[in-house]
């Protein structure tokens, strides 16, 4: 195999891996703050893609996709806040014993509900927004305009997210809550309100991934399933709760899937990520950037 083709495989894997990492960051961010896994993350991805499509097809027209993107994120952010306020917040009140089980049941129920709602409201067929941009190339890789937009959009959102968590008061509060939920309350932070915002921001990131990838991966009721699946793989590879781990884990997963599917067999594409995951768990159970729990 020539180096040119190999570079194309590597680049295509890195591009898709980085886009998947947006989803993983949403999952790990919510986990970091609320200490719960949101199993319906893929459905927020799906809703983001539907809102994007609906806005473009009915209100904005196909060319204004860059306006639809923040609107799709904002709508899903609001939906996330409503879900958190009415369905998840109660488990943080009154000392519920089995909080993890409660969160699992609620978010799995949401997954089923949102998928079926999508079928009822939008029908079972797939939709596709028109291309966001013309095809171009990234070094040696011929790349669609849609994927290039998704790549640039992901990088911009990751940078914005970095600024939010590292350079703002709110970001400090988020990081504080991630380290110690009781401790942050002693500093006068309303941790329940913080949970609501964190859930909204996390699902808005998933919505952004759905909206950015809508023309490439289509809009249909089950389009979020694969992203959830990848997102969970990435956070375990990168380390649960680590934002850097999500990005590196995403890149690694994209790369290993691209190369494995070409050099071994495309029929087992999803297996390669799991082999990596199992190998990592055996030798480094906390993932690449995860930290061991410190207890006194």
């Amino acid at each position: 195999m020539d180096a040119y083709l190999l570079s194309q495989y590597v680049l295509s894997g890195l591009v898709i891996g980085l886009i998947y990492s947006l989803m993983a960051i949403g999952i790990t961010f919510i986990y970091g703050i609320m200490k719960m896994i949101n199993w319906s993350m893929g459905e927020f991805y799906m809703i983001g893609s539907y809102v994007q499509y609906a806005l473009l097809a009915t209100v904005l027209g196909w060319d204004l996709w860059y306006l639809a993107l923040p609107l799709a994120m904002a709508s899903v952010f609001l939906l996330g806040i409503v879900v958190q306020r009415f369905l998840l917040r109660p488990m943080y009140l009154g000392g519920i014993e089995r909080r993890d089980e409660y969160a699992t049941i609620i978010t799995i129920a949401l997954m089923v509900l949102f998928r079926n709602l999508a079928i009822v409201l939008g029908g079972p067929n797939q939709f596709s927004p028109k291309d966001y941009a013309r095809a171009t190339s990234l070094l040696t890789l011929p790349i669609s305009g849609n994927r290039m937009v998704a790549l640039v959009g992901t990088v911009v959102l990751l940078l914005l997210f970095y600024v939010l968590t590292r350079k703002t008061w709110l970001g400090r509060a988020f990081r504080g809550a991630a380290q110690n939920r009781v401790g942050i309350q002693t500093a006068g932070v309303d941790v329940l309100r913080l949970d609501m915002l964190a859930f909204g921001v996390g699902v808005a990131l998933a919505a952004a991934a759905g909206a950015l990838l809508a023309p490439a991966f289509l809009v249909y009721p089950e389009n979020g399933a694969i992203s959830t699946f990848k997102g969970f793989e990435i956070i375990v590879i990168g380390g649960l709760g680590s934002l850097m781990g999500s990005v590196v884990g995403g890149l690694l997963l994209g790369l290993i899937e691209a190369l494995g599917s070409v050099f071994l067999s495309p029929g087992y594409k999803d297996l390669y990520g799991f082999v990596l995951l199992l190998g990592l768990l055996a030798f480094r159970p906390t993932g690449l950037f995860g930290e061991r729990e410190r207890t006194v």
């Binding site: 083709l5 194309q8 495989y9 295509s12 894997g13 898709i16 079928i119 029908g123 079972p124 067929n125 797939q126 939709f127 596709s128 028109k130 291309d131 095809a135 011929p142 790349i143 669609s144 849609n146 994927r147 023309p215 490439a216 991966f217 289509l218 249909y220 009721p221 089950e222 389009n223 399933a225 694969i226 691209a258 190369l259 599917s261 070409v262 067999s265 495309p266 029929g267 087992y268 594409k269 999803d270």
Partner: protein, 402 residues
């Protein structure tokens, strides 16, 4: 006490007498088990339901079957998954008491459904499931009025020979349909002595990013690319093949008739231009009076040409009504006997279910045509027939360089 008993007995006799005509007029139920939600090809399922409903309306409008009993359709979603298909069939038979089932689309689902149908002793009709092994098993209760994959492969191999393609690449999903087509193509390349190189890649149907596989195929430099995806994978392959620059420079053959449906252009836009695809119905075809009546009604009702899935489901329900009348019974075993012993009018010719060799068991095959779109948003009715030669309305057109 005696009076009370007498009154009770009289009331019971009266109730039973009244119930007899009501029972005699009870509708005969036919199940439609088809994909209506993802991951199945839900668009196909909707056309199948549409056709089946039109048949039931027509039969009931003409007085029903068996001297006045109405046909009632029970629609069930198999979602394109074997487990939902099997659960759907169980429900249709045990709860709804259907006498037959039409609408099977995905071969993998049909494989589960037909085995269960054999146990439950209810005839099941394959509307658009084409895997060879489905009729090769020689099951008593399985009937098909659709093409089988070896015939599909024979036709595309003949086309490859006629066009002089030298390097053919197939990208196929890992279902019974996709894997079956790949295996059959390999086999027939040898038996038909096709002078072309063949590259085949099978991918996991759940995967959405096929860029590495398409780059590999592009690098192999095929002069024909065959897209064996069903539903969403077909669209994902087409979009991503265009994005990496494989199509339209390399002609693409789509293995079934999805491009004939209205949503094709909405999903692909200009990326769908120059695709060649296999259909089983074309508006220029001469139909039987039954098929022609359906086409006219369909055009009036939906303001668009019927799609094959609808046409075939319509014909299957009509054929079942004929079989019920011929059997003078609504018992599944009597219906099976009638299906085997009678000739029926289909949409495109006379349908007879014989028990032939191999996959030609209780099988009727419609014609197959290769069509090509040469302009963006081209209506299905204007697509040129590029194969077979006797029906051809134009030559395969190569895309200009991008």
């Amino acid at each position: 006490m005696l009076n009370a008993l007498r009154t009770f007995l009289l009331a019971a006799v009266a109730a039973a007498t009244l119930a007899v005509p009501a029972f005699a007029q009870a509708p005969i139920k036919i199940g439609v088990l088809t994909p209506l939600s993802p991951p199945g090809d839900a668009a196909a399922g909707q056309f199948i339901v549409r056709g089946a409903k039109m048949a039931a309306e027509e039969i009931n409008g003409q007085g029903g079957v068996l001297g006045g009993r109405k046909i009632e359709l029970i629609v069930e979603d198999d979602a394109g998954t074997p487990e939902k298909g099997a659960a759907g069939l169980r429900k249709l038979v045990s709860q709804d008491h259907v006498v037959a089932v039409v609408g099977q689309f995905h071969s993998s689902v049909t494989e589960a459904v037909q085995d269960l149908a054999e146990q439950l002793k209810v005839p099941v009709f394959l509307t658009q499931a084409s895997a060879k092994k489905l009729t090769e098993k020689h099951l008593t209760y399985t009937f098909r009025t659709h093409v089988i994959d070896p015939d599909r492969v024979t036709l595309w191999n003949k086309w490859i020979q006629q066009q002089g393609f030298k390097r053919v690449a197939i990208l196929a999903e890992n279902t019974d349909y996709g894997v079956g087509l790949v295996e059959e193509t390999k086999k027939q390349f040898a038996s038909m002595n096709v002078k072309a190189e063949l590259k085949t890649i099978i991918f996991d149907r759940a995967v959405v990013d096929l860029t590495p596989q398409l780059l590999e195929i592009k690098n192999w430099k095929p002069d024909l690319f065959i897209n064996v995806g069903i539903g969403t994978p077909m669209y994902l392959i087409s979009k991503q093949a265009y994005d990496v620059g494989l199509i339209p420079a390399t002609p693409m053959l789509i293995s079934y008739d999805a491009p004939a449906r209205p949503e094709y252009w909405k999903n692909l836009g200009e990326k769908g231009t120059y695709a060649t695809f296999i259909v089983y119905y074309h508006p220029t075809m001469k139909l039987t009076p039954r098929g022609e009546a359906f086409r006219t009604r369909y055009l009036e009702q939906f303001k668009e040409q019927p799609v094959y899935g609808g046409l075939n489901a319509y014909a299957q329900v009509m054929l079942l009504a004929d079989a019920i009348n011929a059997a003078k019974s609504d018992k599944p075993d009597d219906i099976v006997k009638a299906l085997l012993g009678t000739k029926f009018t289909g949409w495109n010719g006379t349908v007879a279910f014989t028990r032939g060799d191999g996959p030609y068991w209780q099988q009727w095959t419609p014609p197959m045509l290769f069509l090509q779109y040469t302009k963006p948003e081209q209506p299905f009715t204007e697509a040129k027939i590029v194969y077979p030669p006797e029906l051809k309305t134009g030559d395969l057109m190569m895309a200009p360089k991008r």
